[in-house]
């Protein structure tokens, strides 16, 4: 079997909500990530899906320790990296890199492509100037950018090309894990396919693991090995991709999948009649509902759901947090 590359145990990230000017008092905690336990195998893609505000991006950033976790443990290669001091942690961060959603905001407009891609190498003191330049050439070639553009600035590139620059930067330190946070959402349809294909090729070439954060389930189905569905800071279902899409167990997953329109008029007609339309909006994570956090919108809710919080339990290959099982 494949080995576990990264594991989180009961990981939590709370953002304190403060009131007052001088003697700030914490009046509440926004539980953005609330007790997440999951693992990522070497070479696999874990899709992380959910609606906006469910905590999927915060989870990604907490794993990178861009946010310091409130509690819980992160194990990388079986080593606890949760509380490593910054200077020791740096050598681990080389192994985990990130691709961001907005290729317009995540590249410094005053830096050339060369300095953007070489920056991680510089920060981690890898090689000298000529070696770094060679590496930049190599990376640009791999992600499909013409290496002769090395002196250009981000504004001279299109959205898709900028995302390629972001990918090249993420690859510079030969990471083992890449956290991709909505890497294609801001791109045009015809360009999205180019980037998805590139990510899949790179994965095979470098034996990378991905955490692929997105709200687009059809993309997740295409690219992921396993999928974790999040709702209000918690995982409600985690399953191998084909099982999740074939037979979703959690009512939320079911609704999420049924809500996606399919580009086929005939199939859409059939799907429409069976479509589950959720009532209301996601509750505020500041005041999550009692019991199961999904019960306010759940079409299959019964009495117990309002009182008792369901635990994540194993059913076959799937983990699900729902009182129906």
């Amino acid at each position: 079997m494949s080995e576990i590359l990264l594991q989180t145990i009961n990981l939590k990230k709370y953002f304190p909500v403060k009131r007052g000017v001088f003697f700030q008092k914490t009046i509440a905690n926004l539980k953005a990530v609330d007790g997440i336990s999951l693992d990522i195998q070497r070479g696999e893609t874990l899709g992380l899906v959910g609606e906006s505000g469910c905590g999927k991006s915060t989870l990604g950033r907490t794993i990178m320790r861009l946010y310091e976790p409130t509690s819980g443990t992160i194990l990388f290669d079986n080593k606890d990296i949760t509380t490593l001091p910054e200077h020791t942690f740096r050598s681990y961060r080389k192994n985990i890199q990130m691709i961001f959603q907005d290729p317009y905001a995540s590249l410094n407009p005053r830096m050339t492509v060369e300095s953007i891609i070489a920056e991680p190498l510089k920060t981690h003191r890898v090689g000298d100037h000529t070696e770094r330049r060679k590496k930049v050439f190599e990376l640009m070639d791999i992600v499909g950018l013409n290496p002769s553009y090395i002196r250009r600035y981000p504004h001279e590139f299109s959205g898709g090309q900028r995302q390629r620059i972001g990918i090249a930067r993420a690859l510079a330190l030969n990471p083992k894990l890449i956290i991709a946070d909505e890497p294609i959402s801001s791109l045009d349809v015809s360009i999205q396919a180019q980037i998805i294909n590139l990510l899949i090729e790179l994965q095979i070439y470098y034996d990378l693991s991905y955490i692929f954060i997105t709200h687009a389930l059809s993309v997740v189905q295409h690219i992921s090995t396993r999928v974790a569905v999040m709702y209000l800071g918690k995982i409600v279902e985690l399953a191998p991709t084909h099982e999740l899409f074939k037979q979703p167990l959690h009512p939320y997953t079911e609704a999420l999948i049924s809500a996606i329109p399919v580009p086929d008029p005939q199939r859409e007609k059939e799907r429409k009649t069976k479509r589950i339309i959720l009532k209301g909006d996601i509750p505020s994570p500041l005041h999550p509902p009692q019991g199961c956090s999904f019960h306010t919108r759940c079409p299959k809710k019964f009495d117990r759901c309002e009182v008792e919080e369901p635990r994540l339990q194993q059913i076959g290959n799937t983990k699900v947090a729902c009182h129906l099982y």
Partner: protein, 319 residues
């Protein structure tokens, strides 16, 4: 009967970098009670076309060069501003993509809804208030009489979009132009909003133009689709034909480049190489030829015309 007829519309932007041909010879129509889908990538002209004939583009730099646009027989392009204003928000209304920026943050929902009614009809403020509350109930906003007092920032994205839809429908429009109405929303909310538009359309018998880049959204909602690329219409056909027998290489490529839920997982998506062209310097001949997998000699020399092929209209030298 056609409620809207657009013929050979050209709208250019005169910029410092040259003339950008954003809408270049576009013709289409919308029948009464029909939903027309307009599909294309960013910069294809799918939104600008409609903003142009509604007079919603700043001029300069934008200028309508030529063409004819008739709404219920009335010429929109040669209408005085006052009459055009009377049509907009009344007989023709529009839902914009971003509910966060298209509502005024300084005014309550109530003020904004009532303004829409009072601008176009001579009824008392009380009646306008009543109609506004009814409008909110219709789009499924709970406790509408309380919510109507709120300001946009107090509402979630889905709620705001519903307010936008309610506002667009207040004066019982005959044509609703929905520009990416669900792009900013989560899928579960999107499903509700789309169903709402569809139901209201059937109840009121209005015509809808649905502009989107999401092929899934148009598949379930529209009767007919036009596919736009680089400011021009590349294909026009019934929704069924577009998805089952796409003719233009661009339409075909677009359909194959999206990962979809209902097909088996493949390893590679077909991607369209290259980028959409710069409309200040569009390619010669067919504008899609630099990216086209089925390109022939003629394509980079001669511009194809939109012509009828069976039940469809295609602009491609292959036909």
């Amino acid at each position: 009967m056609n409620i809207l007829e657009v013929k050979n519309l050209k709208n250019y932007f005169h910029t410092r970098d040259g003339i950008v041909k954003a809408v270049d010879d576009v013709s289409f129509h919308v029948a009464k009670g029909e939903t027309l889908g307009v599909v294309g990538e960013s910069g294809s002209g799918k939104s600008v076309t409609h903003l142009a004939y509604l007079g919603l583009l700043p001029s300069p730099p934008s200028k309508i060069e030529s063409g004819n646009v008739h709404f219920q027989g009335k010429d929109l392009l040669h209408m005085d501003l006052e009459s055009l204003r009377k049509l907009r928000g009344n007989k023709i209304s529009m839902i914009f993509q971003d509910p966060m920026t298209s509502l005024n943050p300084f005014l309550s929902i109530k003020t904004q809804l009532m303004e829409t009614i009072l601008t176009h009809t001579n009824i008392s403020e009380q009646d306008a208030y009543k109609k506004s509350v009814e409008g909110l109930i219709q789009v499924g906003i709970p406790a509408a009489d309380k919510r109507i007092e709120s300001y946009p920032h107090e509402l979630s994205g889905g709620m705001r979009q519903r307010v936008m839809i309610a506002m667009a429908l207040l004066n019982n429009p005959e044509l609703l132009i929905a520009d990416e109405p669900t792009t900013a929303l989560d899928v579960t909310i999107q499903a509700g909003v789309l169903e709402l538009i569809d139901n209201l359309k059937k109840q009121k018998g209005m015509s809808v133009i649905l502009i989107t880049h999401d092929l899934g959204v148009v598949a379930g909602l529209t009767d007919r689709i036009i596919v736009m690329y680089a400011g021009q219409i590349k294909e026009e056909a019934s929704t069924f034909d577009i998805f089952n027998t796409p003719k233009h290489p661009y339409t075909k490529a677009l359909l194959q480049s999206v990962p979809r839920l209902d097909t088996t997982k493949g390893n590679r998506l077909l991607s369209i190489p290259g980028l959409p062209p710069d409309l200040a310097k569009p390619p010669t001949g067919c504008r899609f030829h630099p990216r086209c997998p089925e390109k022939i000699d003629k394509c980079d020399k001669e511009e194809p015309q939109l012509k009828e092929v069976g039940n469809c209209k295609v602009s491609c030298h292959l036909y």
